[in-house]
Every structure is written in structure tokens, then in C-alpha cells.
């Protein structure tokens, strides 16, 4: 039986966790060990913006120990990831270099959306529960130490996601020094959190009806289990959960920890967590809450299992990304009909160039997204729409896209209308391979966009034939396309430069 022993390392703000999994097609994924060591990297990052020497030392020591444990289990593959506590430090490059030289381990720094997406994947892998939940409008809230991520589902697709930079540990750092001024620190934390959530609700929730809430939070599964009288069920109605959370008010963390059978040394952030749960759940008009016990480590393992064809995820994440794209397009009042035409045309070109462009499914998805969003900047400014488009995309979180991917989409949309720059201009944000992807996708998008220049959706169908370095595009349209075909000379030139393929556009008039 083919089996992989996989180690997932999650370098968090509060602790460093390694989980060892066995992954096989037959047995799926099985956790065989979980090693956790507390090191508050976040306390440094969130307060000072960099991680001190001592903490880096202990991080390296722990990772070296983890490496030994991995050897003990004869781990085949590992993935170690850092999140906001590492991402937000000013000395991150030095830290990664030190980790590499001292432990031999490579650590990936996840962008927020990558991090949340991986966790979201782990939820989606809980097939039965997840699919049942999202039958109704659902929100997922991922309570982290650095921030809180809320994503909304509609019609079984994830449509929007927002990051609220207020997590349990950041709350503690914010309120440090307030202990002497109040006897109800937890109440204060709740107030602070509620004010952060107020804006979110106003902007994103006001016209939405949310029925179910999925929460990822370290202590919530235990709280729900307790409320369910120890039964291993992680579902609870909002009212019952709020009553349970209310019962902890003004209790000290030690006694809550004892009630919940949580080890006192991990209960440090218990009060802040409960404050977040209270303000989050209390402020949403939901019926049922599901709090599965999942973390980044599970997500990393699921992702590996999926990529290596051990497991198949029942949920289509591409649809999520496209649905999110549509949602953004709607928000910035893009011409959806035009966008759709451009998208379709772009896809036909992309597929027609198969064998030439050396790109895959993922790039195709990025192109679709760029097509959907290529004109969103017009919402801000008609004259500087390209730059605005870039800015909107680059600063909007699309769950499921990595930081680089989002950068690619934003650039493709931008250079759709602007002159395509030299690599050195983009080198700060893109590696050369990504630059090439941007060039290829831009070349395609430009042609597609040009074909619906008048936004009048003139053609019915399009066919492509690639023969001897010539791509012939036949457009079936009853209307006059001279404007579109005639105006695209410079775009065509760019296209031909990028692909080394001649582009021949023909119109076929057929009723």
C-alpha cells in the first residue's frame, strides 16, 4: 500500500505545532502524533514588529527537535509554514536564513489568504458536515491569534472573505497594562472586538442572511463539547452557545480551564478567546454553530493529500474563487456582460494556444479572474482605471489565491490597457517566471478585450485553429467587426511577440 508519512509544522504566534500524518488512498489521513511547544513569537511581533534573538534561538531549537522527531517517524515529506507572527516581522528574511542554516528546514511564509484557504480546505474535507452546512447561507469565522477571518458562503460558493486584524493575542497585547484599570479585562476585550466587528457587519453583512456559522477556534470545540454534556458533538444552537459563553463571564481563566479540562499552561489566551467568541457569535444572527477541531496542520496535510491524488476534495474551490471574483466585480459595478464575453473569448484563446503557452489549469483560472475584474478600477477613476484596477485587486482578499497569484491577476488586469513594462519594473513583486505568466495572460486578455471593444457582444461563436505557428481565430458574427479587428494591431503585435505565433483573425458571417 502506498503511504506517505507527512509532517505539518505550524509556526504560530503562540505556539509551534507539528503534526505527523499517515496519508494513503485506502485509509485517508490519520494523525499519529501532535507535538506542541509554546513560544510566543507573536508577543514580539505584535508589540515590537520584530522577533528577538532569544525567541529565534528557541524557535530554531524547537525546529531542530522536530526534525529529530520527523526522522524517528521516517517522515517522507514535510511542510513548515509561518503565519502572521513571522510574516509581519521586519527581520523575516534573516530569520528564514537562520532557520535554514541551523535546522535545515525550509519554512514557507503564508500570506493571510493562503493561510486561511488551507484551513478552509481542511473544513471542506469534512465532506458530510461541510456540504450540509453550506446548503444554507453560511459564514466561516477563523479565530486566530493575530487576526480574525470571516468568509461568507452563498449558494455553496464562498463569495467574500475579510480579514479583521484583531486576534486573541493581539487583543492581549493591546490591553496589556490595562489590568490595573479594570476588573473586567475580558469585558473590555469584548468591547474592543465588537467595535472591530461593527464595521464588518455594516459593510458586508447588512443585506445578507446567514443561517449557519462555522468557527475555527482553539477552545470552542471543548466549550461546545461541555455544553453538550461531554458528548463528542461539535454542533450547538446559537442560544445554547451564548448561554454557555455567558456562564464564563467574570470567572478566572484557571477555573474555566479546569471546567473545560484544558491544561492551565495553554489557557493563557482563554479569556481573550472567549471574548472574541462572545462578540463574534453574539453579533451575528445565526441559528447553528459548528466548531470542528481543525488547524492549519490538518489543512497542510489535506492539501498535500489532494495534490498527490490520495484524496479528492468534494468541494470545488475554483468555483469559490470565481464566485468571489464575481462578487468583487459586482461590488465595483463592472459591466458584467462585457466581462463575461471577454472571459469566454479569453478561454477560447487560452485553450487554442495549448501546446504553445505551456500553462495549466491554474493559470487558466487566473486569466478568468483577470477577465472578470479587468475593468473594476473604473469605479474609482475613468482616467486612471488601470492603476485603480491593480490597486483594488491587489488589496482585496480572494481566498484560495496566493499572494503571488493575486499579484499576477492584478498585473494582467492592469496591463490589459497599459503599456507592458520591462521585467525590472515588476521585479520587486514578481519573479521572472511569474513575469512571463503575466505577459502571456496579458497578451490573451488584450485580444479578448479588444474583440468586445464596443461592449456590444457582437459575435455568436469563436473557433481557433493552430497550424504551423499561425493561430487562426474565426469569429462568427453577423455584425460589422471592422472596429474590433482593425483596432488591435498593436495588441496583436504584443501577442505575436509573446507567443511567437502569428495571429490571424477572420470574420465569418453566418446567420
Amino acid at each position: 500500500m502506498k503511504m506517505t508519512t507527512f509532517a505539518a509544522i505550524d509556526i504560530g504566534a503562540y505556539e509551534i505545532v507539528m503534526k505527523i500524518f499517515e496519508i494513503s488512498a485506502k485509509n485517508g489521513m490519520k494523525e499519529i502524533d501532535c507535538i506542541r511547544q509554546r513560544t510566543e513569537l507573536g508577543a514580539d511581533t505584535y508589540a515590537f514588529g520584530y522577533i528577538s534573538y532569544d525567541k529565534i534561538e528557541s524557535l530554531c531549537r524547537i525546529l531542530t527537535e522536530f526534525r529529530t522527531i520527523m526522522e524517528g517517524y521516517r517522515v517522507d515529506v514535510y511542510r513548515a509554514c509561518g503565519k502572521s507572527a513571522l510574516r509581519e516581522t521586519s527581520n523575516i528574511l534573516l530569520i528564514l536564513e537562520q532557520i535554514k542554516s541551523k535546522t535545515g528546514l525550509h519554512v514557507d511564509i503564508l500570506s493571510n489568504s493562503e493561510h486561511r484557504f488551507i484551513k478552509y480546505k481542511s473544513i471542506a474535507f469534512q465532506e458530510t458536515e461541510f456540504l450540509k452546512m453550506i446548503e444554507k447561507p453560511t459564514a466561516i469565522a477563523d479565530v486566530g491569534e493575530g487576526s480574525l477571518q470571516i468568509s461568507l458562503f452563498n449558494k455553496e460558493c464562498l463569495v467574500t472573505t475579510q480579514n479583521i486584524r484583531m486576534g486573541t493575542m493581539r487583543l492581549r497585547e493591546k490591553l496589556s497594562g490595562m489590568e490595573e484599570k479594570t476588573s473586567d479585562l475580558s469585558g473590555m476585550a469584548e468591547e474592543l472586538m465588537s467595535s472591530e466587528l461593527f464595521n464588518f457587519r455594516k459593510l458586508f453583512l447588512k443585506d445578507k442572511e446567514i443561517k449557519n456559522l462555522i468557527v475555527l477556534g482553539s477552545f470552542l470545540p471543548k466549550i461546545i463539547k461541555k455544553a453538550n454534556n461531554g458528548e463528542p458533538s461539535f454542533y450547538l444552537s446559537k442560544d445554547a452557545l451564548m448561554a454557555e459563553l455567558e456562564s464564563y463571564r467574570r470567572k478566572d481563566p484557571e477555573s474555566i480551564a479546569e471546567e473545560l479540562e484544558i491544561s492551565p499552561d495553554v489557557s493563557e489566551l482563554l479569556n481573550q478567546s472567549i471574548a472574541v467568541y462572545r462578540s463574534l457569535i453574539g453579533g451575528m444572527d445565526v441559528e447553528e454553530i459548528w466548531a470542528p477541531s481543525l488547524s492549519l496542520c490538518e489543512g497542510l496535510a489535506y492539501e498535500y493529500a489532494e495534490q498527490n491524488h490520495y484524496l479528492k476534495n468534494p468541494h470545488n474551490f475554483e468555483n469559490d474563487i470565481l464566485a468571489a471574483g464575481k462578487n468583487i466585480a459586482k461590488r465595483y459595478m463592472c459591466n458584467t456582460k462585457h466581462a463575461e464575453v471577454v472571459e469566454n473569448f479569453a478561454m477560447i484563446l487560452f485553450d487554442g494556444l495549448k501546446g504553445v503557452h505551456d500553462m495549466g489549469k491554474r493559470e487558466r483560472l487566473l486569466l478568468r479572474l483577470a477577465a472578470q475584474l479587468h475593468s473594476c478600477g473604473k469605479y474609482i477613476s475613468m482616467s486612471y482605471s488601470a492603476e485603480c484596477t491593480y490597486n483594488i485587486i491587489a488589496s482585496t482578499e480572494i481566498i484560495g489565491l496566493s499572494h503571488t497569484e493575486r499579484e499576477i491577476v492584478a498585473n494582467v488586469a492592469k496591463y490589459n490597457t497599459m503599456e507592458f513594462p520591462d521585467y525590472k519594473e515588476l521585479a520587486a513583486n514578481l519573479q521572472s517566471a511569474d513575469y512571463l505568466t503575466v505577459a502571456k495572460l496579458t497578451a490573451i486578455l488584450r485580444i479578448a478585450n479588444e474583440m468586445d471593444k464596443g461592449h456590444r457582444q457582437k459575435f455568436k461563436s469563436v473557433k481557433t485553429v493552430l497550424k504551423k505557428d499561425v493561430l487562426t481565430v474565426t469569429i462568427n458574427s453577423a455584425q460589422n467587426m471592422t472596429l474590433e479587428i482593425g483596432m488591435m494591431d498593436d495588441k496583436r503585435k504584443f501577442f505575436e511577440n509573446v507567443f511567437g505565433v502569428k495571429l490571424l483573425i477572420k470574420q465569418k458571417i453566418k446567420q
Binding site: 500500500m1 503511504m3 508519512t5 505556539e15 499517515e22 494513503s24 485506502k26 485509509n27 490519520k30 499519529i32 502524533d33 501532535c34 507535538i35 506542541r36 511547544q37 509554546r38 527537535e65 529529530t68 526522522e71 524517528g72 517517524y73 521516517r74 482553539s218 470545540p221 471543548k222 479546569e258 479540562e261 484544558i262 491544561s263 499552561d265 495553554v266 477541531s293
Partner: protein
């Protein structure tokens, strides 16, 4: 918890030290029991002596420390340290008197009748014997003696803890001086000398030295010579927070131990007054700490006497641990454990499966890691050798060696270093906690993934004591327990506690709470009119909270049967408080050591075993593991064991409402000795050997299972 408050008052509790002395009394009773083979009685007497030594070195020393630092908090029974010391002193002296009465009046004459003549004084030697011992002295003893005279220029030498010495008053030119010489511990204390035909005649080494003491101080006149022995404060308290390097600190402490304050001085009853005064002054001993002994000091030599060749008919039949039926047959130990969970009952059943478990793991190609906690290890331990071999074979071996195991530190440091050299990852205990749990985890990569094999026990991984201590063990590959075992070792290695535990309860984390919950559940069931019962077997019971919970449960109507070998601070028969509680202590050939807990749970009994007693130190200051026995077959077996222990009529002493222990009136009762019963039962359960040569039907070998 209003209702419990009254149950905490001191009048409901016994002092633990006095209760311990009663336990030693029960052993002494065995030494006095004429129905027991004579040489076994010697052994019991020897045990009372070594027990008492340890008791003084640790408990009495600790109380003395308290008095010295003016710590005046009363104990569970309301006694302050000074009061406890006074009471202990009185009882201990009574005990010593009883020990020597037993030795002089009962054992010596019986030995003589049985053909072993112990010459009690060198003055009683025959001419021929005198010649023999003098010769022996010159040739064997004299070379290793270091006599020391004491005067103004030569200060009083260091007298080693627990060593036997001879003090002498010597004079030269009318000037009196004191001298001392240690009876060498490298020589046998019992020396066989010529005597009557068919009688083995022996004399103690100190008598030979006293007879020849003149040889040591040639220019002096010997006025008199007497043996004496001291006991020092040996309680090892390490401030772990301050010890930067625990290992070094302990090594330092061991050296220091010989220098501890003298807390007991044993002298010959008729010792010369001048000498006694001199010893008192030089050793700074208080009058009440002097024990005047009418017989040979340090009765632990009786254990050696037990070992004298011959006299087999005067000893109990030697127990030969029976093989474990589930372990027989072809196949490796792992396939046997996969077939079923295996319960081990030592010493009735062999300890070999435990040693084999580690040994096979060390050699098995599929085993990736072995993790084990070691508390007390035997000299030349096969387990240590197997662990070292495993590391050499490239397995990841993690061993926690508890350096704080009392009196075993020196031994453990040696093993720990050896293991480290072999490539094991050695953890030298945890700061502030003693690791007392007994757990072994073997991680094996099999066809369908990683499988964990776990051994959990109530006794130490010590193949020598496993022949003498009654203990239980469980071999399992249950996933839930395997996961927990992994978590235990992660915690021991300094990582955080897992979010939840499946089956195991760990002290000092959750064990106390769990016991309280289990007891309260019985009380609740009793109140609701359901069946409610607790049976608990342990070595000591002295935790105030647990006892008060037991009182409350008893008051609620729970039937509680306790089998407590040693200290028991709980009182039986208090009306309305403990009328439903019975306590029995089994003192037999084997040392009762297993900890088993049974809770009726409204008709769906829960059975647990573990390493912890109901003592504060076990529940609060040690890493202990309580594990459930859930397999129905094994659970019934454990319940059967408890039933037999409760049915013992020969070796069980029952705690009386007045605090004394009494054996049962046998009239109308079946005579049953649980330990003998288990010996027989274990032997009977071994399947009869097939003799392949004589058998008419050939049996094809089963194919070897390939992984």
C-alpha cells in the same frame, strides 16, 4: 462542599508515621508466626529492620528537619512534628524490643534446634573455635581494618551512615582514650566456624573483631569494646528550581548524605557509660535518640543468614513465575499483542514478556522508536541492555531515567550515562516532579501504517523486584491508548499537553480530579438507590481529600472495601462516617504492590490500574498514570483478583475501629491465602506442553507472518 468540611477534622484521621509503624508490626508478626517456615521468619525480621532504618532516615529525619526550622503545622491527624517524634520514639522503641525478643527468645533457640548454632558472644567460643577465629582475624579481617584512636590531636572521624562500628576505651600510661573501628562492609557479616557435627555454627564478624581488638591497639590496654551504629538524616531534598544542572546537584547531594545529622544511635545495651557519654558528645545525639539493643546491631544480616546453603526444608518453596499463556506459541510478541490485549500478573506470572517486549522491539526491523520511563532498575538490567541495543540498531530511543528515585540515584546515573553513550535520548527527570509512571511505548511501522504497542504497569521495570512484588501489567496495541502514550512522552520531553486524552489519566494533571469524580459518582448512585461500591487496592492511603470523599461516599451508602498494604490514615467504624468502609492489609511472602481501583458505576463496573497510591505525593508531585482495563475478559480477570484478595483469611489483617490490625477468626471460614492461590492458579493456567516427538500427529508449522 459544606457537607465535606466536617469530614476533614483531625479526629477522623490517623497519623501516617504511626500507621506505618503498625505496618512494620504486621511484618514483625510474620516473623513471630510459628506456622511460617523458620527461615522465612528470619527474612521477615530482617525486613522489619531495614524498613525501620529507611523510616528513620527519611520520615524521622524529615520531622526533625521540621522541628529544627520550627515548622509547626499539625498533620492530617492534628499532631505537630514534635508530638509525632515523641510518639514515634515510644513506638519505635517498643518495636525494637519486640524485634530482639523475637530474635533472642524465639528464633535463636529454633535455629539451634534446626541445626544452626549462632554463637552470640565471642566469650562463648570453644578453644578450637577461638583458634579458628583468631586465625581468620589475622588473615582476613585485620588487613582491611582502619582503627582510629581519638585524642586532642586526632579529631573524631566521620562515621558512615548505617555502618557498624566498634568503639573501645583504651588506656596507656594511665591516660584514657577512645578508639573506633568500622566493621568492614566488604567482608561477610556471618562467619562460619567449626562446631558440633551436623550443626552449622556461625558467629558475627563484630564478635571476631571485638575478641581481637587488642591487636589493633598494641601498646594500649583495652578497657572495653562495644558495637555501635548510627543513622543520619538522609532525606534528599533538592531545590530543583535552583539546580542548574540537576545531575550534578544530585551527585553532590549523594556525597553530602553521609554527613547528615545523626538522628539515631544504636548501642549495645550494656555499653560502658564513659563510652556512651563520649559518643553522645561527639555525635551530638539526644538521649531519646539512643536505642539500647540487647543483641546484634543491624538485624539486616538475617537476610544473609537466609541465604546460607542448606536448610531448604525451612524455607518456603521458591516461586517459579509461570509462563504467560497468551505469550506461548509461534510468532513475534507484536502479533500476539495484536491478537488480544494481555494482562500480566507478577510475580505469579513471569516478567519475561516485559523484557522480551523491549528486547524484540530492539531487534525488530519495523520498529522505529522505543520510549520508556525507568524509575528503579535492577543491577545488570536486561531492559537497559535492550534499550542500548535498540539505539545502536538505529531506533529512536527515548528514556526517562528518574534520578530522584530514593537511594537509587547513584545506580540510575550510571545507567543513564551508559544509555546516552549508546545513543539514546535520555531525559533526567522533570523539574519539580518525580516520574513514577511505568510506561513503555514501541512505535512500529506496519503494512497498514504506524501501530503503537504499549506496556503499562503498576510496578517498576525491574526484573529482580518483579519476582518479589505483586504487580499488574497490560500489553496492548489499542489506538486510543497508543495515542495517549505518545502524548505522555511528548509531555515528558517538554512539549505541551494534548488538547484531550483518550483513556489515560495523568498525575499531577487530572488524576486527583478523576478519582474524586469517580468516588462522587458512586456516592450519587448510592443516594439514588443504585448499586454503589468501591474496591481499591494500593500501598498507602493518606490523602486527606480522597479520604474525606470516601467518608462522604460511605455516609451516602457506598460499600467501600480497601486493600491497603501499608500506611492507612483512614479510620473505620466511625458511626455515620465510615461504617461502610473496611480496610485490610495483606502481608505475605510477596510484597503487595499493585494498585487496582474498582468502581461499581451503577452496574457497569469500571476497573483501573496504575502507578499511584492515594497519597498527596502521588497525586500532586509525581507523574503517574492511571489506565482503564476495558477488555471484558481482562476486566473480569482483574475483578477475580480483587475477589480473591478480599477472600484472603490467612494473610489479611483487618483494621479495627480502635486503630489496631487483627487477623481474622478462622472459625467457620475457608482458609485462603491469596498469594498461594495465585501461584497455583498461574501454574494451572499454563497449557500442558506438547511433546512433538511422542505425538503421533505431526503438526505443520504455521507460515511466518510477513509484514
Amino acid at each position: 462542599m459544606e457537607e465535606y468540611k466536617g469530614l476533614l477534622s483531625p479526629e477522623y484521621y490517623y497519623n501516617r508515621e504511626l500507621s506505618w509503624l503498625l505496618f512494620n508490626d504486621r511484618i514483625l508478626n510474620e516473623a513471630r508466626d510459628r506456622t511460617i517456615p523458620l527461615f522465612e521468619r528470619l527474612k521477615f525480621l530482617s525486613i522489619t529492620a531495614s524498613n525501620l532504618d529507611e523510616f528513620f532516615m527519611i520520615r524521622v529525619a524529615s520531622l526533625k528537619d521540621m522541628v529544627n526550622v520550627k515548622y509547626n503545622k499539625p498533620d492530617i491527624a492534628g499532631m505537630r512534628p514534635q508530638e509525632q517524634l515523641a510518639a514515634i520514639n515510644e513506638k519505635a522503641k517498643e518495636m525494637v524490643t519486640a524485634q530482639y525478643n523475637t530474635y533472642n527468645r524465639s528464633l535463636l533457640p529454633a535455629l539451634r534446634a534446626a541445626g544452626l548454632n549462632v554463637v552470640t558472644s565471642h566469650k562463648n567460643l570453644t578453644k578450637e573455635q577461638k583458634h579458628f577465629v583468631d586465625q581468620y582475624f589475622l588473615e582476613v579481617v585485620y588487613p582491611v581494618l582502619t582503627p582510629m584512636a581519638v585524642d586532642s590531636s586526632r579529631p573524631f572521624p566521620l562515621i558512615r551512615n548505617k555502618s557498624l562500628n566498634i568503639g573501645a576505651v583504651i588506656t596507656k600510661d594511665k591516660e584514657t582514650q577512645m578508639a573506633t573501628v568500622q566493621v568492614p562492609s566488604v567482608l561477610e557479616r556471618i562467619v562460619e566456624i567449626p562446631g558440633e557435627k551436623n550443626v552449622v555454627t556461625v558467629i558475627l564478624l563484630e564478635e571476631i573483631i571485638m575478641r581481637n581488638i587488642q591487636q589493633l591497639f598494641l601498646n594500649y590496654k583495652i578497657e572495653c569494646a562495644y558495637p555501635y551504629r548510627i543513622m543520619r538524616n538522609a532525606d534528599l531534598t533538592i531545590d530543583e528550581d535552583e539546580a542548574a544542572d540537576l545531575l550534578k546537584e544530585i551527585q553532590k547531594q549523594i556525597k553530602k548524605r553521609q554527613w547528615g545529622e545523626v538522628i539515631r544511635l544504636e548501642v549495645a545495651e550494656d555499653m560502658d557509660k564513659r563510652m556512651l557519654k563520649w559518643l553522645r558528645r561527639e555525635l551530638s545525639v539526644r538521649e531519646e535518640d539512643i536505642f539500647r539493643i540487647s543483641g546484634p546491631l543491624d538485624l539486616t544480616f538475617l537476610m544473609k543468614m537466609y541465604g546460607l546453603p542448606g536448610f531448604e526444608e525451612l524455607k518456603a518453596e521458591k516461586n517459579k513465575p509461570a509462563p504467560v499463556p497468551e505469550m506461548q506459541g509461534e510468532g513475534d510478541i507484536f502479533s500476539k499483542i495484536r491478537k488480544q490485549d494481555i494482562l500480566l500478573h507478577h510475580p505469579y506470572q513471569s516478567f519475561d514478556p516485559v523484557v522480551d517486549f523491549v528486547r524484540e522491539a530492539a531487534r525488530d526491523a519495523q520498529v522505529m522508536a522505543i520510549k520508556q520511563t525507568l524509575y528503579r532498575v535492577s543491577g545488570n538490567s536486561p531492559i537497559i541492555a535492550a534499550l542500548a541495543l535498540a539505539a545502536e540498531n538505529g531506533k529512536q530511543v527515548t528514556v526517562l531515567v528518574e534520578l530522584k528515585a530514593r537511594f537509587d540515584e547513584e545506580n540510575n546515573i550510571v545507567w543513564a550515562k551508559m544509555l546516552e553513550k549508546a545513543g539514546c535520548h535520555v531525559i533526567y527527570g522533570l523539574v519539580g516532579l518525580k516520574t513514577h509512571s511505568k510506561i513503555t511505548l514501541v512505535v512500529r511501522r506496519e503494512e497498514d501504517g504506524i501501530r503503537r504497542y504499549v506496556h503499562l504497569g503498576t510496578g517498576n521495570y525491574n526484573d529482580s523486584t518483579a519476582k518479589l512484588y505483586t504487580d499488574m501489567g497490560l500489553l496492548t496495541c489499542s489506538e486510543a491508548i497508543g495515542e495517549d502514550a505518545t502524548a505522555v512522552f511528548n509531555m515528558i520531553s517538554g512539549y505541551s499537553e494534548p488538547p484531550s486524552w483518550n483513556k489515560l489519566y495523568l498525575a499531577p494533571l487530572w488524576l486527583r480530579e478523576r478519582f474524586v469524580k469517580l468516588i462522587r459518582r458512586e456516592a450519587k448512585n448510592a443516594k439514588e438507590g443504585k448499586e454503589a461500591k468501591i474496591i481499591a487496592k494500593m500501598n498507602s492511603l493518606c490523602d486527606r481529600e480522597i479520604i474525606s470523599e470516601l467518608y462522604a461516599a460511605s455516609a451516602a451508602g457506598v460499600k467501600i472495601e480497601l486493600i491497603v498494604r501499608g500506611i492507612c490514615c483512614l479510620k473505620v467504624g466511625i458511626p455515620g462516617v465510615s461504617d461502610n468502609i473496611s480496610v485490610r492489609s495483606i502481608v505475605g511472602n510477596f510484597l503487595e504492590h499493585s494498585r487496582i481501583f474498582y468502581f461499581e458505576n451503577g452496574g457497569a463496573p469500571k476497573v483501573y490500574m496504575g502507578s499511584a497510591d492515594w497519597m498527596p505525593r502521588n497525586l500532586d508531585k509525581r507523574v503517574e498514570i492511571l489506565f482503564p482495563v476495558e477488555d471484558k475478559r481482562l476486566k473480569n480477570e482483574v475483578i477475580h483478583i480483587l475477589d480473591i484478595l478480599l477472600a484472603d483469611t490467612l494473610k489479611a489483617h483487618i483494621l479495627q475501629p480502635d486503630g489496631s490490625y487483627a487477623k481474622q477468626d478462622l472459625r467457620g471460614k475457608t482458609r485462603l491465602c491469596a498469594q498461594e492461590y495465585f501461584v497455583k492458579e498461574a501454574q494451572e493456567r499454563v497449557p500442558a506442553d506438547r511433546n512433538p516427538i511422542r505425538d503421533r500427529v505431526f503438526v505443520p508449522e504455521e507460515p511466518v507472518e510477513l509484514q
